[in-house]
């Protein structure tokens, strides 16, 4: 089923400047992450961030420690777009904030820690946080040249409508195939949309082990769907022209393209892909029932999961419209619905509705997506970044 287009020199030749990290990764942004370990420290975190350039806030709100939340925070901190981390603690929450800062520092990434109680209250904690953050930002960062093939690109959809499967997702699928042909890496998830795709995905899995992992992920998603009564194909779907469950699912899955799955990443652990090619991020409950984030479905959660797996950038398709961004990974919005695009243009980077109106082909929009990824990797802000969107979900 793989039909890769011949590469033009345009994609292969493009190079951009990135930020070298101690673990060998290279980021396309140099963000300072202010990571709060309880909601009581969120407000102070934001006040510190307001006084800094390129600082973003994320964290775990519950006072109770949570193994899954801890792992997700550590993996977010490990994202190559994060240059340094300031851990913000109230001081009495159950999560061991100093240990988190120490673990991050042990990876070679600059990190520091502020306890609001130890600092002496609002003003002194903000002042201390700003001072420590500025010190972290002064640590020199080596700039190195990278290309499209060095990027990990996440693909995601939200606010889908009938245009998603005929415009935005096929165009992203086209871009995904081209990216992987350059030696790049793509991560897709949303396993609940893989029902019926067992045949296609396992038939071209790189190894029998990967095929087995894909099947396990789909079975778990199917069982979850049966329990929650949100599975399979409805009479309304058939009325609308969808013939089989695999066709319905592929309307979403096609944004991953048609290259073989070369790796299955495990939600909960939020591993980074270790080789180029297409990767499926399997749901957390494959290994760790009860971990946070599992079964949570939202635009910010999907983007955060991809960021935790080391994505440099996320390409996000929508039909009805979404505003979600991330402080850690630039989010490129691809809108397939011409009416939505017209109404929400300030949030949309790519107008894929032109496929439906006949102004452009799927290939042309796919090429524009690749060009946008290159521009974003070169430092151009996405609409979500420009608007200051910084959603997250831990």
């Amino acid at each position: 089923m793989v039909a890769l287009a011949t590469l033009s020199p345009f994609d292969a030749a493009l190079r951009f400047s990135g930020f070298a990290r101690a673990d060998g990764q290279v980021g396309i942004r140099n963000r300072l992450l202010i990571l709060f370990t309880v909601v009581c420290a969120e407000e102070i975190s934001r006040r510190i961030a307001y006084q800094l350039e390129d600082a973003v806030v994320a964290g775990w709100r519950d006072c109770n420690a949570n193994t899954g939340a801890r792992q997700k925070m550590l993996r977010l901190a490990a994202n190559p777009n994060v240059g340094a981390v300031l851990v913000l603690s109230l001081g009495c929450e159950s999560t061991d904030a100093p240990a988190i800062a120490e673990e991050i520092r042990a990876t070679g990434k600059p990190a520091d820690f502020v306890s609001i109680q130890a600092a002496g209250g609002t003003r002194s904690a903000v002042a201390l946080g700003v001072e420590k953050a500025r010190q972290l930002q002064q640590v020199p960062v080596e700039q190195v040249e990278i290309g499209l093939s060095d990027l990990i690109v996440g693909v995601e959809c939200g606010g889908s409508d009938t245009t998603s499967g005929i415009a935005a997702n096929p165009a992203v699928g086209y871009a995904s195939d081209r990216l992987i042909a350059t030696g790049g890496t793509v991560i897709f998830e949303e396993t609940n949309e893989l029902l019926g795709c067992e045949h296609s995905l396992t038939a071209q899995a790189a190894t029998p082990e990967i095929a087995g992992e894909i099947l396990a992920a789909i079975r778990i998603a199917r069982d979850w769907g049966i329990r929650n009564n949100v599975r399979a194909i409805s009479a309304g779907n058939i009325e609308g022209g969808l013939t089989t469950i695999e066709e319905k699912s592929l309307g979403a899955v096609c944004k991953a393209g048609t290259t073989p799955v070369v790796g299955v990443l495990h939600g909960g652990e939020w591993e980074r892909p270790t080789r180029p090619g297409l990767h499926l991020l399997a749901p957390y409950y494959v290994r760790q029932e009860g971990w946070t984030g599992g079964g949570t479905i939202s635009d910010p959660n999907g983007v955060t999961e991809l960021a935790a797996c080391g994505a440099h950038v996320v390409v996000f398709t929508t039909g009805r419209g979404t505003v979600t961004g991330s402080g850690i990974v630039p989010v490129i919005k691809v809108c397939g619905n011409p009416e939505t695009y017209a109404r929400m243009a300030e949030n949309m980077d790519i107008d894929a509705g032109t496929i439906i109106t006949g102004r452009r082909t799927i290939a042309e929009v796919g090429e524009e997506i690749l060009a946008q990824i290159c521009a974003t990797a070169s430092g151009e802000l996405t609409k979500a970044e420009d608007l200051g969107h910084s959603e997250f979900h831990i």
Binding site: A3, E246, E247, I356, R360
Partner: protein, 110 residues
Amino acid sequence: MTSSTPPDLIVLHDADNVATALLDLPPGQPARVAGIHGPLPDLAPSVAIRLGHKVAIRDVPAGELVVKHGYPIGRAKKDIATGEHVHVHNVLSLSRETDVATAESSGKGV
């Protein structure tokens, strides 16, 4: 590469043997078909096709895979001719071949 007029049917991947209707199409009238890289030859559906439904862009013999998005979405239950409506009356889901549990839980036989 592109035509300025909106297409009536769209092919979503080079490997596909079906096109999807972007609007309600009457039978027997030539419809404009958009391909991945540009317009494809016009195609006249043999019956009325509603928005979102599929038309075969080449003959699909019984037992062959029906391909959309570059992936098989099912198997032809009977011979399907170019221009014919492709839907539940002439396509069977592959999930019934590969996953008995899915077929059982859908309430229909394998």
